[in-house]
Symmetry: C2
Subunit: 291 residues, 2 copies
């Protein structure tokens, strides 16, 4: 019985094929073949344009057409010509279609909830699933600008504060730190960037400006499941690009000696240590970078 990496991966494949297979056939639970269900769900998720649909699901033009006709006959979908190009067609859900779509969503959610309820170590499982999903799909991590008050940003910041609390010997209390105003981290003064892997926010960085030529980097965080992939570096590069775009010439940041991997990154990417420039109680390292 070999216990090498390869047999472990293959064990994983077997386990997941079975589980995901069960998920696939569950789509049959509503009396509709998988193909039709996939089309219905894609439309429900906003991919109504027939060409987009084909592309997303990887289907042949003829097959797509037939599946759409089937859903039309069921009264779940209507297709209308595209407003600006009459060759193209756009599919949309009818009232009945929306109902059926929600039924699939509920089914899918229920299955996920079920897994959570059955496994006594939900948190560990979720973390492991995040890591696997990130590893499998990591080409797809995109960096996007977001409102620092958006769900994605708040999720990252909450995790960031929690991690500071664990790692700083003093603990961490947001109220004592200078929590930047949202407007300082949005255009035109600054920016807030979120790294997203297939819908899950996995990292963030804030650029806090005051309208002048100096700005601060704040809140650099990468979720544990996405570490080791060079994402922090990508986030910093994106933040610097945004700074250049805003006409900023000098960047500063503060950090803490407990955050060793962050300090290492700064030192390796052209930041130089400077004197303390604020009276925030938590940081004990201060850096600057001129661009």
């Amino acid at each position: 019985m070999p216990i090498d990496a390869i047999s472990r991966i293959r064990r994983f494949n077997r386990a997941v094929t079975a589980a995901v297979g069960a998920l696939d056939t569950s789509f049959l639970g509503r009396g509709r073949p998988l193909g039709a269900a996939r089309v219905l769900n894609a439309i429900g998720h906003g991919r109504g344009d027939v060409a987009t649909l084909r592309d997303y699901l990887g289907l042949d033009s003829g097959l797509t057409s037939r599946l759409l006709r089937g859903l039309e006959e069921e009264g779940l979908v209507v297709t209308l010509p595209h407003p600006s190009d009459a060759r193209r067609r756009v599919a949309a859900l009818t009232e009945a279609g929306r109902k059926e779509f929600s039924a699939y969503e509920a089914l899918s959610n229920g299955q996920a909830a079920d897994l959570m309820a059955r496994f006594p170590r939900g948190d560990d499982l979720l973390r492991a699933m995040d890591l696997v999903a990130t590893a499998f799909g990591r080409e797809g991590i995109a960096i996007e600008e977001a409102d620092p008050r958006s769900d994605a940003a708040v999720h990252c910041l909450t995790e960031y504060y929690a991690e500071l609390g664990r790692r700083l010997s003093t603990g961490f209390d947001v109220a004592l730190s200078r929590d930047p105003e949202a407007a300082d981290m949005m255009r035109p003064r600054g920016a807030f960037l979120v790294a997203v892997s297939d819908g899950l926010p996995v990292g963030c960085v804030g650029l806090k400006g005051k309208g002048g030529e100096v700005a601060e980097i704040k809140r650099l965080w990468v979720c544990p499941s996405a570490r080791g992939l060079g994402l922090a570096r990508r986030l910093m590069e994106a933040a610097e690009a945004a700074a250049r775009d805003l006409g900023i010439t000098t960047l500063r940041l503060d950090s803490n000696s407990a955050l060793t991997e962050a300090l290492q990154l700064y030192r390796r990417t052209g930041w130089i240590e400077i004197e303390r420039f604020n009276d925030d109680p938590y940081p004990d390292f201060f850096f600057e970078k001129r661009m």
Copy 2:
């Protein structure tokens, strides 16, 4: 953008469906439909008995038969009557079949190796995959008797020693501890039990006897990815059952105060603390259970 458990699970499903789907179609890479390839692989993995095959792959009797005929026509498989029951049939690979089977194995291994090479955090990924696979298939954890020198047992023991080294403040050196003779943990004197989840050993326990009515429980270990599932308790129950079977009436064990969850388990399952009964340098807790 919701970041709840359910959307995380669904993200995982998407990532894995894509990856495993690619793996599935790769089976077509050798010009044979998935069904036939699955049968060939199952036979290669020792499931030649036609009934076993059907059961394992979840196929209809007729379909199985047809797929076997197909493989026979290709010259990859021969079916012979079962030696003890002429109604049953057993399929076996021919020389060409074995070659084709190894080609599939190589393909599958290559894919796994590829994943490892592409992801910079192989160890973390493997651990996460183990945990997910265990969670998905945990109904299937079987407890089996094994030779303490078998691959599976050695794997568990190695992990066990490594964990002791990390957790005991003194470290742990097998050479200083009393490493039981293999024969003491095999019938008729004792037993060695391994918990196996779809081929991966995930826990073990040894019953070390000397031929008398007293025996010791040794080497209780559960791998991190399978903790929290009550497996240690199951292993202990299986060990006690084996002891009863061997006519043993008194069980003893030693442990260390650093292994808190183990001590808790012993106290909850009828073990009572006794005086030190050996001079092994590592243990500082001693228990006994009469049956």
